[in-house]
């Protein structure tokens, strides 16, 4: 344990400035920061813009200022593993990708140690590091490409086009106003008056029950003709509750009301979150 905290401290002192110097956006290899938290006496690790094992490797290569075509595998592997250990120590969720890379590095290191096969053909004497170097360079190219996209997007955000024009295309249905709704309600109320001659039993339907009924009816059918909904009401009081529950669901943005033509039927629909 003592040894590990020692490692952490060494890492920290080896690289005290890099975290602060990184500008607001730096795509290629931002530095991780290891800062002591004085209150809890613990080290805090921020991985900065480390994305994956390739980024960590590139960072280590840069930090050591070594030639990417001649990576000192043993040294870099050691440093890589030290970082990995530190990350695990600090309970950072180390992605599996980091472990895969660690295994590849260790394998590479061992291959470097093996003497070359004296009988091998010249072409087979390829540097075992080549594959890794190519991957790193490829990765670096795409990091640069990402930087380019970032600046393009920034420029493009400074360019404005005109605001959207209201056309029939983007507004196919006439939105329903409160008065349209009231008109429909009034019609039904009038019809109701004619039909129901006497009320025998007083039925108590609460707002909550009515909202639930409305919800279920809309959900099951996808949409609901409001006239039909109102007509189901058994009493004037129930009708009022029904009307209020429609308003309530509209207010809560659970349903929307649409009317395809002026004075046409009003349909309630479930609002799909955008």
């Amino acid at each position: 344990m003592t040894d590990d905290s020692q490692t952490a401290k060494t890492l920290q002192t080896a690289d005290p400035t890099k975290a602060q110097t990184s500008p607001s956006i730096s795509v290629a290899g931002a530095a991780p920061a290891i800062t002591p938290d004085h209150e809890t006496d613990q080290l805090k690790v921020t991985l900065g813009e480390f994305e994956g094992p390739l980024d960590l490797l590139l960072y280590l290569i840069r930090q050591d200022q070594v030639n990417i075509y001649d990576i000192p595998v043993a040294r870099i592997t050691e440093e890589y593993l030290r970082y990995l250990k530190l990350m695990q120590e600090l309970d950072l969720a180390v992605a599996g990708d980091f472990l895969v890379m660690a295994a590849q590095l260790v394998e590479l290191k061992s291959r470097m140690l093996l003497p070359r096969d004296p009988l091998a053909v010249e072409e087979e004497l390829e540097d075992p590091r080549t594959e890794l170097v190519n991957r790193l360079l490829e990765h670096e190219k795409f990091k640069a490409a990402a930087q380019m996209l970032w600046s393009r997007a920034t420029v493009e955000q400074a360019v404005f086009t005109r605001a959207e024009i209201e056309t029939d295309k983007n507004n196919p249905e006439v939105a329903v106003g409160l008065f349209d709704l009231l008109t429909v309600f009034q019609k039904i109320l009038a019809r109701h008056k004619e039909e129901v001659l006497m009320e025998i039993e007083r039925e108590e339907v609460t707002m909550a029950e009515m909202i639930e009924r409305l919800r279920n009816m809309i959900r099951s059918a996808g949409e609901l003709n409001l006239v039909k909904f109102f007509e189901r009401a058994g009493s004037r009081r129930e009708l009022v509750v029904a009307f209020l529950s429609v308003l309530e669901l509209v207010r809560m943005a659970e349903i929307s009301l649409v009317q395809r033509e002026t004075f046409g039927e009003i349909t309630a629909r479930v609002v799909t979150p955008a």
């Binding site: 360079l137 380019m148 400074a158 086009t161």
Partner: protein, 210 residues
Amino acid sequence: MAEHSQTAAELEPEAIEAVEADDEVQGMREISATELKGITESLIFVADEPIDSKSIAKVLRVDQSAVDEAVQSLVEDYAERSGGLHLREIAGGWQISTRAEHHEHVRAYLKSKPSAKLSLASLETLAVIAYKQPVTVPEILEIRGVQSPSAIKTLLDKRLIVAKGRKETVGRPMMYGTSKEFLIQFGLKDLSELPSIEDFQDLAGDLANE
């Protein structure tokens, strides 16, 4: 009038009636160059997305080459005037927009802030997709060295990338490519306008010299 009836006679019998009934449409086919230029500008202005000369020609029932000429002439006008607006080619169409250099004032008026940028992971994933498309998730992983499920989801949500079918290989993974929205948001005429990925070689090569 003589010329008119000759034209009508050359048309399909059932079309004659329509043409005669709608003299205005007949007139539309003989739009003067000046008028065509004006109409073209109007259409580019009202179009929601960059509009190509083919679509304009179709609406106006004129030759596409005539529209192309009109657009070129408009581009020259805009450049010469060097006013607040810009006529430019984006995503294979034409669009009128404000000039980038006026963004501060436009933003101040609109009270708009630059919208949330893509995360580094998303940008990198987008770069890989833009240059390697159509590309599968395992191929993206190979280059980035790290899984990017949330980045791909973000890019799909923002409609910057689209699924481009499945690759006929083990597991038939989904392939992704960039969308028209990508071209629009990054101000590109088409994909060929992206700098070659090899141009970034030099940048990457710096590592060797350090």
